[in-house]
Amino acid sequence: MTPVIEVRDLRFRYEDGTQALDGVNFSLHAGETVAVLGANGSGKTTFVLQLNGILQGEGQVIVCGLPVNKENAATVRSKIGMVFQDSDEQLFMPTVLEDVAFGPLNQGCQPAEAIEKAKRALQQVGMEHSLNKAPYHLSAGEKRKAALAGVLTMQPEILVLDEPTTFLDPPAQLSLVHLLHELPQAKLIVTHDTRFACALASRAVFFEKGKLVTDGPIEEVIQRYDWHYSLLAADLRYSAQRRF
């Protein structure tokens, strides 16, 4: 089966010289859910930003059979729905409805069709009551759902969620797990929350210093890196490295 995402020998260096990705190889198949684990600064977010061409490094990134480049950017971005860590960055229109309809309008839908799609997506995430609310009036959990609706309304084949549990209380996290579980798209979940990852993903990849060092069943990856307990140590290591 052809993967929906295929990454070969991906390298990326920021302008300040930081080697953020170093020879990453990865593939994701239709319907699969993969957790992306790793310490802060290990390259997880940089990696997912390569998938829809927002950042572009050396190597090859193929999404749904299309190489990610400037020419294909619009098509690739309609195939990959990206939910960012901070929902406030994703909700920038005056009302929830307008925000959710932003994607379909950019895809060339007529306003009536965009509204219809937006309403459907909001219903899908259980936010149909908030159509005319201003995004800043929503709770953190509602913002996350509205941001997800804004992505679902573009009917992507792949969902990328960057730290989706940030700012969410446990009930909101549970609600998000149920919601994501029902979505048929292939999913890539960048997270530090191993319980959340285990609830959704069967496979995990582990990033360390820009390299994808492990790819396998999620329980094995978590166990191998003792990720439950080493998280704090990894963060401290990272902070220390930055300081000196």
């Binding site: 930003l49 829809n52 927002i54 619009a74 971005r77 309609s78 990959i80 729905g81 990206m82 960012f84 901070d86 406030d88 960055e89 994703q90 920038f92 005056p94 409805l97 307008e98 309809a101 932003f102 994607g103 309008l105 950019n106 895809q107 306003p111 965009a114 509204i115 201003a134 800043y136 804004g150 992505v151 573009m154």
Partner: protein, 236 residues
């Protein structure tokens, strides 16, 4: 976007809100030209112009005092120039300068307070404003909210760490320079995040409106009636 009250005003549902932005922009331009060419001693024309604005504010359901007070932010500038003109010996011109600048500000606020910015900018674009300027205005507007929000966060953090004594207040003033630098950096990263999320949802440099502009007979009638009134007031 709760930081700017004018943005909330623009979401209203009055007949003035419902008019096509092109009609409102055209009327505003005529109003400004009429006002600029009104002689300093034409008190009746200025009163009619002011009455048109007050009627507009009431029709739009905007808070009269709130809008007039916001328009007063222009006064320190216009009063300075008015004072210079007065000292140069032209009292009537000085008064007219202050009156005209204030009425112009009220008129602009009335337009902005009755037209959501995306529609206003689309109206400007439709009337021939270069797209690059419209795009710049759109981003400036969005990022103003970003900066405003970040400023509030920085302020809250500063207040939490400062006491109420005068010494602390002096310290806070000294820290303002550093806070500004932090504010700029944080706003920059937040703005970058917003732009990335826009790109991820297919933004191609052009904001598509959910409710496209429609210039109907009511809009034409509204513009024609107001232009006729303003021009009549000016020439008679």
């Amino acid at each position: 976007m709760h930081h700017v009250i004018v943005d909330q005003w623009s979401q209203g549902k009055s007949p003035l809100h419902a008019r096509d932005p092109r009609a409102k922009i055209f009327v505003l331009l005529v109003f400004l030209v009429v006002l600029a060419t009104t002689t300093p001693d034409a008190g009746v024309t200025l009163i009619i112009d002011a009455a048109v604005l007050v009627s507009g504010i009431l029709l739009a359901g905007l808070p009269l005092m709130g809008l007039l007070l916001r328009a007063a932010t222009i006064l320190p500038f216009s009063l300075t120039f008015g004072l210079i003109t007065w000292l140069a010996g032209d009292l009537w011109r000085a008064i007219a300068l202050v009156e005209k600048s204030y009425l112009s500000t009220v008129a602009v606020l009335l337009l902005v307070g009755t037209t959501p910015l995306p529609r206003l900018l689309r109206g400007l674009e439709a009337l021939g404003t270069p797209r690059v300027l419209v795009l710049l205005a759109q981003f400036l507007y969005r990022y103003l909210f970003v900066i405003s929000e970040q400023a509030q966060h920085v302020r809250v953090a500063a207040v939490c760490r400062a006491g109420g004594s005068s010494e602390h207040r002096r310290g806070r003033f000294r820290a303002a320079g550093g806070a500004l630098a932090v504010l700029f950096a944080r706003s920059y990263y937040r703005a970058e995040g917003i732009y990335r999320s826009m790109l991820a949802r297919g933004f191609g440099g052009h904001f598509v409106l959910l409710n496209p502009l429609r210039f109907g007979a009511l809009d034409g009638g509204f513009a024609a009636a107001l232009v006729a009134l303003l021009v009549m007031a000016r020439i008679t």
